[in-house]
Amino acid sequence: MDVLIGLEIHVQLKTKSKLFCGCSTDYRDSPPNTHTCPTCLGHPGTLPKLNKRVIDFGIKAGLAFNCDISKKMRFHRKNYFYPDLPKGYQITQYDTPLAKKGKIRVNGNEVRVRRIHIEEDPGRLVHKKHRFSLVDYNRSGIPLLEIVTEPDISSPEEAKKLLLKIRETLEYLEIFDGSLDGSMRCDANISLKGGKRVEVKNISSYKGAQKALAYEITRQKNLIRRGKDVERETRHFDEAQEITTAMRKKEEEHDYRYFPEPDLPLVKTNEKKIKKIKESLPELPEEKRERFVKEFGITSDQAVSLTSSLDFANFFEEVAESVDPELAASWSTDVLKGELNYRDVHISESNIGVGEMIDILNYLSADKITEKGATHIIRKVLDNNEKPSEIMKKDDLRSIDEKNIKKIVKKVIDENQDAVDDYKKGKKEVVNYLVGQVMKETKGRAKPDITNQVVKDMLEENL
């Protein structure tokens, strides 16, 4: 089934202040209309003041997606009326966007980026039970990057993956925070087998994108099966019901009357500046994953888990430089990550540092502690912020050597004669029970595999 999907994605950039004024962008937990000023309220006589950082962030994003960066760009006015649009026009970019002709790789497929441009977010309408609506302008003027792809996406699943990849890349560039509610929104275009194009608006989550597109494919297939035409239209995605609905046909045709924004001068850049920014870009997630696999000999699944955030990747890398990388990898992905998630804590905010992790893994490699012990220490460090060496001493986690294991096994066997009898009768699972008793006795300080062997040997001896 030939499915052609294109996305138009809006992301809010992580600047301190808004695109055209100094109001703080940290508006989400604030009461309405407390992050506003005459400029973002559209008061008469106010003028836009372009925030330099937005241009820098935009160029970074353009480079990360392999685009050509515009050497000369200007802003335009997009004129339309709406209660959430204070000036009666939105300042955006029309025929001189920030970046063009890029590509993003997803699933082995290359999705072309048609353009990336900068524009301002409007305010927010709130609808309650009244006969009127309510407007909050806190969001008015937040800087947005609009990323438009060609219809190269071939499935809803791929669309979701593309959005996740965009999120990951922009977070690595430290220009975007995907955890903020509504920070990424998109519209999708979808057509089947050369049929008419349907636009779907109001998608604001990754899962939502997949669901909206999957629903559309089904809806359109059904129409075709019943011999009906798929109409070219704009539909609204209902997140709660996971369906798309037709928008009222009476929507006026928009004539945006674009013209260049006379209140803002040209923005020019050159090869030298672009090169400088390119050199300052961090290694992007995919490159980093490939390098980890090559350099540290870990699996690509592990690499994916380790690079889920830049902080976590950096943590792992530093640890892997001082201990066996495979050990570092498996303990980071299998144990540490789980413990962090359980405590809902980000690696950068946690009590465990690179040094602590290295210490723990070194104790483990040197057989000074068992795996259970290592896990125990990790938990104690996270919860109580103690040093591994202190925990080792205090909780007496030093692993027991073979000589002592033999003593304890002998003791356990002497105390559990029925178990020995059962073993003689052929019940081999007795070994596990006896090992468990040794563990209890030693509080997990006996290495399981050695204990296992010793118990078997002694049982055999007794026969």
């Binding site: 109001c23 372009l50 330099k52 407007v135 302008y137 803002l264």
Partner: protein
């Protein structure tokens, strides 16, 4: 003779510009607009082949502001000219 705009054209533009115009004023307005638009067509006489549009009178470029936070207005200042409901602006109904 050029076609000019008719009354329904004027109504369409008035709707685009969100301005109510009384029906009785529409005819007069239409006539005035046609006179003026005909006058605007004089521009067709100018040969501007060698000239691009002049969008930058002061020829400035790269004028920027640093990414710093400035104090926002107090809620009283914000709400002064509008209708306040729980510190939201009251807006006429928007169908959603």
């Amino acid at each position: 003779m050029k076609k000019g705009i008719n009354k329904s054209d004027v109504e369409k533009i008035a709707s685009l510009a969100k301005i109510n115009i009384e029906d009785k004023k529409l005819d007069k307005l239409k006539t005035q607009l046609n006179d003026i638009l005909e006058y605007f067509s004089k521009l067709d006489e100018v040969d501007t082949e060698d000239y691009g549009p002049k969008f930058d009178i002061s020829e400035l470029s790269n004028v920027f502001r640093k990414d710093r936070i400035k104090e926002s207005l107090t809620i009283d200042e914000v709400m002064e000219g509008g209708k306040n409901k729980d510190n939201y602006f009251k807006s006429p109904r928007v169908e959603k």
